[in-house]
Each structure stands twice: as structure tokens, then as C-alpha cells.
Amino acid sequence: MLRLTACLLLLMRLAAFGEVHPPAQVTAGKGFSISTTGSGDASFYLISPGHVAKREVKLGQDIPVDASDVKKAGRYLAIACGSGGCNSAAFYVMAAEPDKVSFFLHPSRVRVKSNDAINATAFVFDQFYNLVLTPVTVDFKVIPKTGPPIDRPIKSNLGVAWMRVASTPKQGPVKVIAEVGKASEPRVIQQVASDACNLRIKATRTAKAVLIETDPLRDCSGNAIPDGTIVSFTEIDGKGKTTVDVPIKKGIARTQLPVNGRAKISVASGVVIGNEISLGGGL
């Protein structure tokens, strides 16, 4: 009899000691209620990856949870502590609808006519910057300055979608846009000329020296080599070797070199070697 009474008392106590029953899954930024059992006053704790809330509640009543308390996706713990102890339950908050996209486009400068040279990566977020883990389609649009645009829809995997595309033969800006629903992120990269093609120099004698200049410098696709690119001139004459690194200005590199008697002049830019000219019959 005594044992039975004790069991009853224990059951009564457990009934008074409230349990919490959150929904199994919640969407970020949407309010909901957590039902409780038991009776009496209790402290309620909501512990999430980015937020901790504490409030006093009455057990046996529903506990409303504001939308602002569940902005971050992830695992949440709901804990109620009354006079008889604490009880807890876990639930997950999932990301809301896709709303934002972080878009990475590399490289910011790319040589023309390069395979798989342009890399695009998009991370899909909801409005609270939770990664959207459910697959969604990211539309990558590549719009070169000349030529037709390219459209590449890619399904995201655990919040990320990526693609590669070749650069076109013409230099100039290329616009790439990543779109998810209403979210659209444009980026621009520059396609730049490749190595110089047909590097040629010519020489003109002046009163004291020889003026050396290149033909207008272009790559093999006909794109102008950008100003500032270094062209190296080398002249060998009776007094030794003379070298000078000259930047291209207005499409041409030019310099004046002192020449003593017969001389041989050559030109190079990076790994590209140009023609060679001899003055006074060469060496």
C-alpha cells in the first residue's frame, strides 16, 4: 500500500513537471507555439545556434515563439524548468525560401580563348542568410561584349551551385549574372589579350642614336596588347650589350639606343621573341 502511494505521488509529481512539445520542423522566420504539460510556473529557455531566449511561462499552456526568435536555421533546444526540475526537446529550423545569392566569379581578368577559364560559384541564402539546403536552380547568364549570350541553369547542392565556361576570342568586358528567383547578382570580368603575335621592330637612325620601335602589338586573335606591357630591346655592338625594358604606350613600344658601329638589335616580350635587325652590316 505504501509502495502504491509512493508510485502515485511520483506520477503526480511527474504530471506537474511539464514537458515541452515543439513541432518537429519549423521554417526560419515564422512564429509558432510550443505546447507544454504540467502546471505551475516555469522558466522557459530557447537555445539556438545564434540566439538564446529566456522567459517565465505557465506550464500546461502553449508557449508562443516569435518569428524573431527563429531566424537562424539549425537545431534548437526548448527547455522548461519548473519546481520539479527541467525537461527539454529539440527541433530543427529550416531555411526559408531562396532570397539572396553570394556570387563569386573568377578570375577578374582572363585571357581570350581559354578553355574553362571562367569559374562561377553561387551560394544560395534565404533572407536571414541561412544556406538553402534544398536543391534550387541557379541561372548563370554569360553576356560577352560581342557574340551571343550563354544561359546555364545549374541545380544547387547543399546551397552551392557552380559552373565553368571558356573565354571568347575578343577582349573586353564579360557580364555574368547569377539568378535565383528574384535574386540576381551581376558580375563583370575582363577578357584580355593573350601573348603578342608577330612581334616586329624597325629602326630609324637619328643624329646620335637609333630609334627602335615595334609595329602595333597584337595577339593572335587581333586584340591589342595592353599599354604598360613590357617589351625588352637588346642591342649588341662593339662596346658591349645594351638592354632596355620599355612599356608599350599607345600600342607601340619605342626607345632610342646609342649605336657604335655595327650592331644587332632584337626584341622580346615575356616568353615571346620577335625579329632581329642588323645595322651597319651586323656583327
Binding site: 553570394s102 599599354d227 604598360g228 662596346k239 658591349g240 638592354t243 615575356g270
Partner: protein, 369 residues
């Protein structure tokens, strides 16, 4: 005791002071100032130069009537923000080359402490006897004069607007330049391992470049890491090639299993000017018989380059970089004026050199970077 102690204290103090004075070179200085021998005359002159006592130094010259004192000062103290203006004479050594009754030739090695490190300067000075005193015949300073002219400049410069520290992740940024090490060679020297090679900027924008190397031992564990420091051109314009050299003092090649190379490239603002031609390059010997690469630098722009550094890399018959040496030029590069330079080449390397490539680094006060 009453008289003895003060006398004792006074005499001992005076004696000690006199001893230290002699020890500190006071007596030698006194004798040297009398310039009774060619050696003393040159030493006295250089001592005055060292203490920048220009009046007294100028007065010691046998040929002071040939040029102004200002020219003498400019010859030694430098001008136009040249490296010599950033230097002080730290020490010197004088020894005779030829000696006669009334004239002699003395060789002096001047060790300068400068803003970029120590500099050596060897000069032969003629010394003449005038009465009881020897005087130095200072070579008449020659300063090239540039004719007035207009030098057209199409100023070419890159500026960079990067992502700010407060900008969020995902905001587009400009990528770092594409830079590549085109050659690398590990060289054993008596007291060190040296890594030499070349690096090229393959991009269309200027690059800040630094090359680091890590020596790995037989367990592939790092033994030491060093960088190229001033043995590289840190700012490379598009398609520009720079030699680099990395020294590992105290290591030997047999300890090294492999070398991990790491080239860092950043996008930086830069200017394409000035253009400096390297003329009349040739392998030669200096007065002391050491191998040097000689030439002259011609600043083709219209603005003075205050300090220039010559970086030279040397190739063997297979086109492999076998050595990199450097030297700072202590004169400023005035526009269109040829300034000679010479950089040392080790004897064992000199015999293998088949070709070489010279690059000029520069510092201009008005740019500062």
C-alpha cells in the same frame, strides 16, 4: 698625507686620462694632422672627410685651385638625393701603390655605411710633397650637364581600388596578378645554399612580387625559410621578368632534399616610368683583379632617379640561371646622363657565364614607393 693624497689623486687621474687619450687615438690623430708622410696626408684627408670637416679637407688638397670647394663636397657627399647623400664614411684603409721622394700614389678603400647597406669604394690618390707637408691631388670632379630639352612623357600608371575591410563577403574583388617562376636553381656556395632563378608577371596589370623558399630535409621537414628581400624587383610590370636570389647562410646542399618555392603576387598601384637603359654591358676585371659586370645606366625619362640598383642574372650554356648578383649605384641618375656601374661576379661563376640579363630597380624621392 695631507699633501700626498691630493697630489696622488691629481697625478693618477691625469695619468689615466693621458693613457686613455693615447689609446683612443688622440696622439695618432695629432701626428696624422701634421701630414709628414704620404700615408699621413691621405689618412688626415680621409679623417676630415669622415668627420665632414670640408673646410679642413679642402685645405689639404694640392690642387684646390682647380675646382671649387662645393664641387669637392658634392663629389664626396653626393647630390640630387643620390645614395651617397644617404651614406657616411664609416672606416677606411690606406696603403701605398707607388712611393717617390716628392710624389706618391696611395690606394684608399673607403667603407661607407649607407641606407641600403655597406658600400666599398677603392680610389687611387696621387700625393705630392709641398715643403714639409704632403698634400693630396684630388681627381677633378666631373659632373655631366644635360642640355635644356623637353622630354615628352605619356605618363602610364595603374591605380587600384580594392575591397574595403568593411565590405561583405561575396562582393566582387579584383584578382591578384598571375605571376610564375620560370626558372629555379639551387647553388652551393662555400658558406651557404643559394636559390637563384627568374620570375615573370604573366598578367596585364602590375604585380607586387616576393619569392620565398623553404629548404626541406630528408624527412621533408622545413629547415629554414628565407625570402628574396632586395634581390628581386618587387614591382613587375606586365610581362616583365625579374631575377631573384634567396640566400640560406650556414646550409649545404647535401642537407637539402628539396626546396619549396612560394611566389606571392599582389595587385599594387605602379608607374611605367622611368625607363632606364643599361648600356655597354660587358664582363671585365676591376683594379683589384676581381670579375665584374660593367655597364652604364641611362635614365631615359625627364626626372631624376635618386638611387638605382642593378640586378644581374647569369646563364650557363644551357640557358640555366647560375648566379644573381646586385649592386647599388651611389650617384643619382640624372635624365639622359650615363652613370657607370659594376657588379661583382664570383670567379668560379664567371668562367661558366654564357649570357646575362640586367634589370634596374630604382628609388625616387618624389615617388617614395
Amino acid at each position: 698625507m695631507k699633501a700626498f693624497l691630493p697630489l696622488f689623486i691629481g697625478l693618477v687621474t691625469a695619468g689615466l686620462v693621458a693613457m686613455a687619450w693615447v689609446e683612443s687615438g688622440g696622439l695618432a690623430l695629432h701626428e696624422m694632422r701634421s701630414a709628414g708622410t704620404p700615408q699621413e696626408a691621405v689618412e688626415a684627408l680621409v679623417t676630415d672627410i669622415q668627420s665632414r670637416n670640408w673646410d679642413r679637407a679642402y685645405a689639404r688638397l694640392a690642387n684646390s685651385n682647380d675646382f671649387e670647394k662645393q664641387a669637392f663636397i658634392r663629389d664626396l657627399a653626393g647630390s640630387s638625393g643620390s645614395l651617397r647623400t644617404y651614406s657616411s664614411l664609416e672606416s677606411f684603409k690606406v696603403w701605398p701603390v707607388e712611393a717617390g721622394a716628392d710624389d706618391a700614389t696611395m690606394r684608399v678603400r673607403l667603407n661607407w655605411s649607407s641606407a641600403v647597406g655597406p658600400l666599398d669604394d677603392v680610389r687611387d690618390l696621387e700625393v705630392k710633397k709641398e715643403g714639409n707637408v704632403w698634400k693630396v691631388v684630388w681627381p677633378k670632379p666631373q659632373f655631366a650637364k644635360v642640355p635644356p630639352q623637353v622630354i615628352p612623357v605619356n605618363y602610364l600608371r595603374w591605380d587600384v581600388i580594392g575591397r574595403g575591410p568593411t565590405d561583405d563577403w561575396g562582393v566582387q574583388n579584383v584578382d591578384n596578378p598571375n605571376v610564375r617562376i620560370t626558372s629555379m636553381n639551387a647553388v652551393e656556395r662555400p658558406d651557404r645554399v643559394v636559390i637563384v632563378g627568374e620570375v615573370v608577371n604573366e598578367d596585364t596589370v602590375p604585380a607586387y612580387v616576393n619569392v620565398n623558399a623553404t629548404l626541406l630535409n630528408s624527412d621533408s621537414k622545413p629547415m629554414d625559410q628565407e625570402g628574396s628581400f632586395d634581390m628581386i624587383s618587387h614591382t613587375l610590370l606586365p610581362r616583365q621578368v625579374s631575377p631573384y636570389r634567396i640566400d640560406f647562410p650556414g646550409f649545404h646542399l647535401q642537407q637539402v632534399k628539396s626546396v619549396r618555392m612560394d611566389v606571392k603576387a599582389m595587385l599594387v598601384p605602379a608607374s611605367a616610368d622611368p625607363v632606364i637603359a643599361v648600356t655597354d654591358q660587358k664582363m671585365d676585371k676591376d683594379p683589384l683583379g676581381k670579375n665584374v659586370l660593367r655597364g652604364a645606366l641611362v635614365n631615359q625619362s625627364g626626372q631624376t632617379v635618386n638611387i638605382a640598383q642593378v640586378l644581374a642574372d647569369y646563364y650557363d650554356a644551357n640557358g640555366r640561371v647560375i648566379w644573381v648578383s646586385d649592386g647599388y649605384v651611389d650617384q643619382a641618375l640624372e635624365p639622359q646622363v650615363a652613370v657607370p656601374f659594376a657588379v661583382d661576379v664570383p670567379d668560379d661563376v664567371a668562367s661558366k657565364i654564357h649570357n646575362y640579363h640586367v634589370l634596374v630597380n630604382h628609388y625616387s624621392i618624389h615617388e617614395g614607393s
